[in-house]
Symmetry: C2
Subunit: 278 residues, 2 copies
């Protein structure tokens, strides 16, 4: 049994994720970006915690929005928006006693239009890099934030519906509507791993990165860069490239595989719930 | 105004303390001991947090004991016992609206025999390196833990009384009964400093270390080593020694200036309450 509550484990997972090193392109224990530093992630995790403790009594969307608001109370900007978006349904599943793909999918299926409205409101609290939506989705561009509420209500879209519409271009949304397949698989890797959690975290991050193009890199850089990132991670796993040198290069080039980091954080939560000891 | 509650600021201060680097001889963002690693400090801070939220309603000693119990729920052993001991009265002072030397001293003066009993009980939860007490104090050796309760009650010793008896050989106890002079001064250094909090933390740690022998080093190593540590920190401040090389050497030699780290954590809390932004 974990000595911590599920809400504490979400917070600890956020901290363990950023502490894992090397995680090429991400802020990690050894690397900062000039305006996005390790200390911002520490404050982000501490700031998100009070909202997380309100689950499962409060609605999921509200807990997510308030966690993002708390996370944003530091000067680095967006530190853990995606990690929280991925972790909150897992938190509800754990609190319902079923932190499994089925349990998490049941939480997703139970989301409401109110949850969708709260999700959009969360974008009012912090700048998140997102792609332009297809023209037909313009009224539901997340950058509209709370202004999207009438459209969401008119179309009666739940948060699950919103995620389903983004699943083809956003790795977190894909997890939401795909049974959190990569997240749970990564948690298994963490539990099977050996050595300090910080080293396991780095290894699973690299394995995830080698699997498919990171959607946050596609958004902020380009698909071409995201494919290169995937290939370079494969080279690291094959022993053909040094992960620390790659980390220096990616930070220099501002190539930040944030979606992969978010899935790593979610997997750390699942692993902590499943008996990963620290 | 800080966007966080005082209890959140204690937790964040614990995290910022361990993240500051270099802090020669301590676990920091760049260094681990084989069995005492960065991740243990992250879990220690998260584990301590629920008890801290029970202040000021619950008695100070109980909050401290429970925070230590929560902190201990990780495999590294003692991570933040001293930092919590220093921070808890400061937390109560902040919650009373007076996070100042006078406010903290008022909290110390209000401690009870029950608080002293809880303090001793905290030693049941974790192994803390302490020196043999004078023979006359044998019945009050903190290593007796909860077994010391009858003696504490018979002598009607408050937690302030207990601290006063250790102030000449323990740097945390000296802060308790001396108006937290070094802690508040270090908070000023943090607030006056420039640059990322992690760098400020390293600088104030080195300034504290250069001021006087670290009592944790006296306990675990010897007074001679503690005096050498102080001198080496002076050399770093004079630009005659590289702090990162010194950090490597001290970790290699298992010279861990824990009291200085504890005061740094307390000072980070005071600075966060006083407007230090992250």
């Amino acid at each position: 049994m974990t000595p911590r509550t599920p809400a504490q484990n979400v917070e600890l997972a956020l901290l363990l994720e950023v502490a894992g090193t090397p995680k090429p392109g991400n802020v990690d224990r050894a690397r900062d970006y000039p305006d996005l530093r390790f200390e911002h992630f520490l404050a982000g995790a501490v700031g998100a915690a009070p909202a997380l403790r309100r689950a499962p009594g409060a609605p999921l969307g509200e807990v997510f929005e308030d966690a993002v608001a708390g996370m944003s109370e530091q000067e680095g900007g967006n530190t853990q928006f995606g990690a929280l978006l991925l972790s909150v349904p897992l938190l509800y599943a754990a609190l319902a006693g079923d932190c499994s793909p089925e349990g998490a999918s049941a939480v997703v299926e139970s989301t409401t239009v109110d949850d969708a409205v709260s999700f959009y409101r969360a974008f009012d609290h912090v700048d998140v890099a997102v792609r332009d939506p297809p023209e037909s989705m313009d009224a539901l561009d997340v950058r509209r934030g709370s202004d999207a509420e009438p459209e969401l209500r008119a179309r009666e879209l739940t948060l699950e519906d919103v995620m389903a519409r983004s699943a083809d271009r956003d790795g977190i949304a894909a997890e939401w509507v795909g049974g959190f397949e990569r997240t749970f698989r990564t948690a298994e890797w963490l539990l099977e791993g050996e050595g300090p959690v910080g080293e396991r975290t780095s290894r699973v991050f690299l394995r995830l990165l080698a699997e498919e193009p990171d959607t946050f890199v596609v958004t902020r850089n380009s698909r071409e860069v995201a494919v290169e990132v995937q290939k370079r991670a494969q080279d690291v796993l094959a022993g053909e490239e040094d992960p620390d040198e790659l980390a220096e290069e990616f930070v220099e080039r501002d190539v930040n595989p944030g979606t992969t980091a978010d899935i790593t954080a979610g997997a750390l939560f699942v692993a902590l719930e499943g008996g990963l000891t620290v």
